[in-house]
Amino acid sequence: MLARIQDLGAATLTAIGRIGRSSLFLGRLLAGLPLLVKRPGLVIQQLYVIGVLSLVIISVSGVFVGMVLALQGYYTLVDFGAEQSVGTLVALSLTRELGPVVTALLFGGRAGSALTAEIGLMKATDQLSSMEMMAVDPERRVVAPRLLAGFIAMPLLAAIFILLGVGGGYVVATSMLGIDGGAYWSQMQANVSFSDDIANGVIKSLTFGFVATWIAVFEGYDCKPTSEGVSRATTRTVVHTSLAVLGLDFLLTALMFD
């Protein structure tokens, strides 16, 4: 019994320690971000790795999620004779919820885990240490460009996801369900508000991008420098990102759409 309480205490202390370390780490990184203005090349390179290389999975998922939404929405709406509103349903679901959330989950699995593994391996093979001995700060040279690229890439990926989802929904609605194309768009235009729905979706995707990238780079930088340490850190990135995104999504939804 006493051992259980002791374990609980130890786990709590470890968790608090990690929160503290990751906050300090984030603070140092943010302080170093302005220096990247002089080295845009570093950020662009990471934007390619994090953003462009994630495009395929994001695009394909976006199209399919949009198509499924149109199908599912249609079968419910048709009972009420409201099937012409399927465009609204697809667009609102995507901009408010599924776009930011699913993109962030995919982003954590695709780009976040890769970031953690890359930084962790650089640590395990002394590359970060050797950089320090060359008087190059690895936090600024290696981590900061990745963090910034993640911030920028994630909202853009979410936007692409939503766009393609709406397109996929259109194709299904017009070709399979017999909805008029004009109704699909005009219903959407009439019922989706920029200031409420789209702006809030953007706020969500910015938040998720920030948290997902922060978790990924911190786990990599803080991992135990062994192969097991790197593999655990990669797993933790995916798990923590998913939990953080889902938890924050509830919080943001409750705050923004009252």
Binding site: T125, D126, A135
Partner: protein, 273 residues
């Protein structure tokens, strides 16, 4: 300037104490590294030789005692002053620690591009010269994964001297090398030291190789310096530590057995449990 500059001491370590996880690694270590010399730090595995280099390079802080490089106390330096000091230091890691996604050429160019602000054409010339110095100009386009262990270490050496450091650290440069590349590295360390006017610190447990190039040897054991002097003086030393290490005796002050309860107790204890 402090007086340590006058008598030719570049790195002055005094009464250094470091403990890790309750176990003392250094328990009052004094080491003076003189300008222009090759100083070797030897000792059995696990005596904190690598830790010593990290302390001098400022990657770790001691619990107490002083580490002074060029008259500056390393643990007390601010981050930016420490980074400025490190530009005059080079370190060869045991693993080489080359950037695996960059070619040899780009590895050597890395510190120059980060710090020198030189035009690209000049950097290309400099990198070729550094690679030529370690005999690997021809390997410039290869990736670290395509190199043998010895070659990787020489490329890492070229990268470490790219910024023309004053002080070079070598962490176990000979471990895991075949006799040919071992001989090459031994020669390179001495030649670079003399030709470029470096001060070198070699951390190693390869007695024979180190004895041929070192001007001075410090022998670490049990958290202290147990003996120091020229290689010839160490050969004559009667210290039990030195004799065991130099003559590779299996048992001595460094015990063959890891500390444990007696074998009889261990075996009997298991039966009664």
């Amino acid at each position: 300037m402090p007086s340590s500059q006058d008598n030719g001491v570049l790195v002055d370590v005094r009464d250094l104490r470091v403990a890790r996880g309750g176990r003392p690694i250094f328990d009052g270590v004094d080491i003076q590294i003189r300008r222009g010399e090759v100083t070797a730090v030897m000792g059995p595995s696990g005596t904190g030789k690598t830790t010593l280099l990290r302390l001098i390079g400022g990657q770790l802080k001691p619990d107490s005692g002083q580490v002074v490089v060029e008259g500056q106390s390393v643990p007390a330096l601010s981050r930016s002053r420490l980074f400025r000091l490190r530009r005059r230091m080079g370190m060869l890691f045991q693993s080489g620690a080359l950037f695996t996604d960059l070619t040899c050429f780009e590895n050597v160019a890395f510190p120059l591009r980060e710090h020198s602000g030189l035009p690209e054409r000049l950097i290309r010339h400099l990198v070729r010269l550094k690679l030529e110095a370690v005999g690997l100009r021809g390997a410039a386009g290869l990736y670290p994964a395509e190199l043998s262990g010895g070659m990787a270490r020489r490329v890492a050496l070229a990268r470490a001297i790219a910024m023309d450091p004053k002080l070079m650290f070598y962490d176990e440069p000979f471990s895991g090398q075949d006799p040919i590349s071992m001989g090459t590295l031994v020669q390179l360390i001495r030649q670079l030291n003399d030709a470029l006017g470096l001060t070198s610190v070699v951390v190693s447990h390869d007695v024979k190789e180190v004895a041929t190039i070192a001007d001075r040897i410090y022998m670490l054991a049990d958290g202290r310096v147990v003996e120091s002097g020229t290689p010839a003086e160490l050969q004559r030393s009667q210290s039990a530590w030195v004799r065991q290490f130099m003559d590779a005796l299996p048992d001595g002050p460094v015990p063959f057995h890891y500390p444990a309860v007696s074998l009889a107790d261990d075996l009997l204890g298991e039966d009664s449990a």
